[in-house]
Amino acid sequence: MGFKHRVLYKLSSLMFVFVLVLAGCSSDEKVEGDKDGKTTITFWHSTTSETAKGTANVIKAFEKQNPDIKVKSVYIANQGEGSNEKLLTSIAGGNPPDAAYFDRFEVASWAAKGSLEDLSELAAADGIKKENYYPYTWDEASYEGKLYGIPTTTDARLVFYNKDHFKEVGLDPENPPKTIKELEDAAAKLTIKDGKRFKRIGFIPWYAQGWFYGWGWTYGGDFYDKETKTVTANDPKNVEALEWITDFAKKYDVEDISGVTDSQGSGAMDPFLTGQISMKVSGNFNVASIDMYKPDLNYGVFPIPTPTGTDHTTWSGGWSVVIPKGAKKKEAAWKFLKFFGEEEGQKLFSESSRDFSAIESVNIDLGYADDPIFKEFIDILPNSKSRPVMTEGSLYWNELQTAVENSTRGKGTPKENLDKVNKTVTDALAK
């Protein structure tokens, strides 16, 4: 090889290496499909099976109405509360999708970091307003008076109970417990324990959807003062609620109970379906799997009992659609959000997913109020609460869960543990 050749050879191999490295780092930034006048927007969602059908239906109808826009729907496993890493890094990297299906629970903390587009003006211009939605869904999608997401779905939590078990032990299946005391008695009657093993357990307060938020509110406590922006985890009523849960854990032996909760299967193996648990707190989203795996199950739902037997409440979460900060095709994305969030889109979505819409009239139109099970949920939705809208929502949630864990396991008293939650979250908010 001559000198010239050698230099050329070296240069070209160096180039090759650089190309390799660059190819490895490059982001997918080519402008998609803008030929033939179509705009393609990317939509990230985490919906599966029935819910995915809902998403697909919405997209199909939207594309029909907007022939110039194409929606590229991308499934992202685990996009939701506490597992939004992929969306997080895409926004940080300046290459986010144009729209995303987003857990409302995290809107506040993301908005506070400036990671979501402010939709207030767009919504106002297109006549999308709070009055159309369940108020808490709108509040949850807003932060400091500005709207960052359009609420799409909501849910609620009630106690599911097995009517056959009730009959078997002489409880009236048409008159389920209203007070905490009645709930305790029913649970005791329904439980069959053999040594350390439960053949059947009546009730486990923290099982399934029995999160502490529900119990605190049921006892009349509260978690956050919106006006003064103070955390009130150690509200005396919340302490009372946790004390009750702790007593329950002691009575039935928490380690034996965890034998049941750890055995929890899903789908057809759900212990409620297999008759291993008689009552559990769960959400409307559970109905679909009961219909699928055990349609002949004789069950009912009732509001979470309260100490007094009145003022029943529950809490709701749900989803929204958002535009991540840095999205490239905001205009088209907004059109999609608007379609998804208004009645037509919500109806299409709710119809196949069986998730409640964030718009009450849609739920009525779809006949949810006529279904004996769903009716109970629709009835309680207007009284429902959402978790505190704050920047440290995830931390608060996890801390409360730890407090329940520690109390039921006898590590610290309920009061001490809730005091600690209060301090941790308050400190985090102060930063």
Binding site: S13, V17, V21, E85, R197, T261, D262, S263, L395
Partner: protein
């Protein structure tokens, strides 16, 4: 051998050696993908995480420079201490046990029996199972209600514990699961065993040494370089325990934080609570801890690691 004799190049005197001779350019060129990769994907993130650990960086915004505040705060974080103690508990039990089991398994798999290749494959297979699948599998096996393990204990009249649901059993259970995947070190031990010259055993045989004496005075001492390697690697791995407990407890470290390991706490802070600065500080503390422990092991190694031919 032929090539050696035909090489006629005169050796270059040491004085002419420059760092960038023509032929070394070729070397650099060939190494450049790795060098660029190392700089870009290791050195850069490493150094920037050191800087971020001094800020309130949240991934989504750059944050402010706060000096050593993150480090200071860590010392008042209860869960930080809990996660350290959990991690040390795991490392202290897991690493020695993995050496004990690894070496014994390797010695068994080194015996000259029929179907050896099959046995070796069987013990290596679990290593190929992805950690997440492994977690799910063991959750089933150790299930107190319908799990196979308790079922088997039941049949011989022992009531098994609630493996993963009890605070006192959760960590031992995790150690048990982790021991299931020691195929990788076993392969290395096997190579180490194969490296021990037969002559030693023959000599010992002539002297009438028993199996135990041969193991104690030949096999183990000559295996120490490999044990040393696996000890260091095992320790580093143990301190970074993440996937198994994270998957098993859905990131919660249940029951009552008894399975919250150091890296899990770090991950939660960095990606869930938007405290990347705090997380980076934790990462550097972990780095220092591992460095110190590795240094200690290295400094003692002269006393117990024996190389063949020395």
């Amino acid at each position: 051998m032929a090539q050696v004799t035909t090489r006629k190049k005169t050796p270059i005197p040491p004085t002419i050696r420059k760092p960038f001779r023509k032929s070394s350019l070729n070397g650099w060129l060939f190494a450049s993908p790795w060098i660029i990769g190392l700089l870009l994907f290791y050195a850069y993130p490493l150094l920037s995480s050191m800087y971020y650990s001094l800020t309130t960086y949240s991934i989504l915004d750059a944050g402010e420079f706060v000096g050593f505040k993150n480090y200071g705060e860590l010392f008042h974080d209860d869960l930080f201490w809990k996660s350290i103690s959990n991690t040390i508990y795991f490392a202290v039990f897991f690493v020695p046990l993995s050496i004990l089991f690894g070496v014994s398994l390797a010695m068994m798999l080194n015996m000259k029996v029929k179907g050896l290749a099959i046995y070796r494959t069987i013990f290596f297979l679990p290593t190929l199972v992805p950690q997440v699948a492994l977690a799910v599998l063991w959750m089933w096996l150790l299930n107190p209600g319908f799990g196979l393990v308790n079922g088997m204990l039941d049949s011989i009249g022992i009531q098994g514990p609630n493996w993963l649901g009890s605070m006192s059993w959760s960590k031992p259970s995790l150690i048990l699961m982790s021991l299931w995947t020691i195929g990788q070190p076993v392969i290395i031990y096997l190579a180490g065993l194969g490296d021990i010259s037969e002559e030693y055993y023959e000599a010992a045989e002539v002297d009438g040494a028993s199996w135990f004496q041969k193991t104690r005075h030949i096999t183990l001492p000559l295996l120490t370089p490999v044990i040393f390697y696996n000890l260091v690697m095992g320790l580093i791995g143990a301190f970074q325990q993440f996937t198994l407990p994270y998957t098993m407890t859905q990131g919660q470290g249940t029951p009552a934080n008894s399975l919250t390991f150091y890296v899990m706490h770090m991950y939660d802070n960095a990606f869930k609570y938007f405290k990347m600065g705090y997380g980076s500080a934790m990462a550097w503390i972990l780095f220092v801890i591992i460095m110190i422990l590795t240094a200690i092991i290295f400094s003692t190694s002269k006393r117990w690691v024996h190389y063949q031919g020395e």
